[in-house]
């Protein structure tokens, strides 16, 4: 599905109490859950090499983390560069903004190939974890 500016696309309702993801412009304004994101939990997810995996590719303001990747832009200032709605769409499925993006879709199971048995029909993060990460990234301001 191509991203169309000024187009409102209603996506399927997802399990786990998630709200419908409605893309407006280049973002998803509506949070995926009713519970507000927790920045502290979000930070832990971003820094985790098993959960968020973010630091495999991104650097960021994590002085305690020694090995950070440089395949992707720094997370420092992410909250100044992007609105929560923009961050939400990038996390849910970056392919909707750029089909060639190397960033994994964190909350979509569509269009994937040969997904491992342990991961079939599962998203990388849960809806609440997405909200936690957005809450944390929004605190990263320059």
């Amino acid at each position: 599905m191509k991203f169309l500016p000024e187009t409102v696309l209603a996506l399927a309702l997802l399990a786990g109490g998630a709200q419908a993801q409605v893309v407006v412009g280049d973002g998803i304004p509506q949070p995926l859950t009713e519970t507000a994101g927790d920045p502290a939990r979000g930070r832990a997810i971003v820094a985790s090499r098993q959960r968020g995996l973010c630091l495999l590719c991104h650097t960021g303001p994590f002085p305690e983390e020694r090995f950070q990747g440089n395949l992707a832009p720094t997370l420092a200032g992410a909250g100044s560069r992007s609105t929560p709605a923009q961050l939400r769409l990038r996390l849910v499925d970056p392919r909707r903004l750029n089909p060639d993006s190397i960033m994994p879709p964190y909350f979509s199971t569509e269009g994937l190939t040969r997904v491992g048995a342990n991961w079939v029909a599962k998203t990388v993060l849960t809806a609440q974890e997405i909200e936690d990460v957005i809450a944390f990234l929004s605190t990263l301001r320059e």
Partner: protein
């Protein structure tokens, strides 16, 4: 590869330098030294096992590899640099490990070695050593071509929950860091390798399975046609680069 193709269009041929780098060139000086010194390279232990197997009869009334092939230094020179190679009986290319096992079954009437067994890695390493220093020289048989193309498509195919293609890291982002590790260009110059992370020897297919698991894809089975196709493509992509077997990697 894509970047190389672009350069080919932009630059006169004379100005083209080979940008390809073996994974060993990204290693620390210590690890490079370990690979270069046969008395320090742990892979040589498997080579020695392979050399012993080469000359040992699988049973008293059976032939050893050496009984047919003679001195491996002469008869096996350049063989590993050419595999996977087309096999008319199979109707498809086979990798070196499969060739060893086909030979065992057909000519030695012995059970095939299990994938990644010490014996199979040993013989593979022993054969690989006979090509050390030679250029990778892919199978020229035109019947291999469709399989090589299938390998290229697999290399460019995004897969797994994390949705990565080999090419996205190893072509588009080689030389950058994935967490603490430099992403190499994925040239199979040293297999089987002794990988420090494994504390052991492993084949190219084991390494490919590692990457597939890493992107949360269902890895292809050892010896699966797709594995051989990927090997075939990677060897062609590395054509002309020097065989380093037994390689050491971090």
């Amino acid at each position: 590869m894509r970047r190389l193709a672009c350069l080919l269009l932009l630059l006169p041929a004379a100005a083209l330098a080979d940008e390809r780098r073996s994974g060993s060139t990204y290693m620390s000086a210590e690890t490079q030294a370990m690979q270069k010194d046969d008395t320090a390279n742990p892979g040589m232990l498997w080579v020695q096992d392979g050399a012993a197997l080469w000359s040992r009869k699988p049973a008293a009334d059976k032939k050893a590899c050496a009984d047919c092939h003679g001195d491996a230094a002469a008869s096996m020179k350049g063989v590993a640099a050419r595999y996977p190679a087309f096999d008319a009986e199979q109707g498809r290319p086979v990798d070196l490990a499969t060739r060893i096992n086909l030979c065992r079954e057909k000519h030695q009437q012995a059970a095939p070695f299990a994938a990644e067994s010490e014996s199979l890695l040993g013989l593979s390493a022993w054969l690989g050593l006979q090509s050390r220093g030679l250029p990778i020289s892919p199978d020229p048989d035109p019947r291999s071509e469709p399989f090589r193309e299938a390998g290229r498509r697999l290399y460019e195919q995004r897969m797994g929950q994390l949705n990565f293609a080999c090419a996205q890291c190893h072509d588009d982002n080689a030389g950058k860091r994935l967490a603490g590790s430099v992403i190499p260009q994925a040239h199979p110059t040293g297999y089987p390798i002794y990988r420090l992370e494994w504390q052991g020897m492993g084949s190219l297919q084991r390494r490919l399975r590692n990457c597939m698991t890493g992107v949360r894809a269902e890895p292809f089975a050892y010896g699966a046609p797709e594995m051989v196709e990927l090997e075939l493509f990677l060897m062609s992509r590395a054509a002309g680069m020097t065989v380093e077997t037994p390689g050491v990697r971090p």
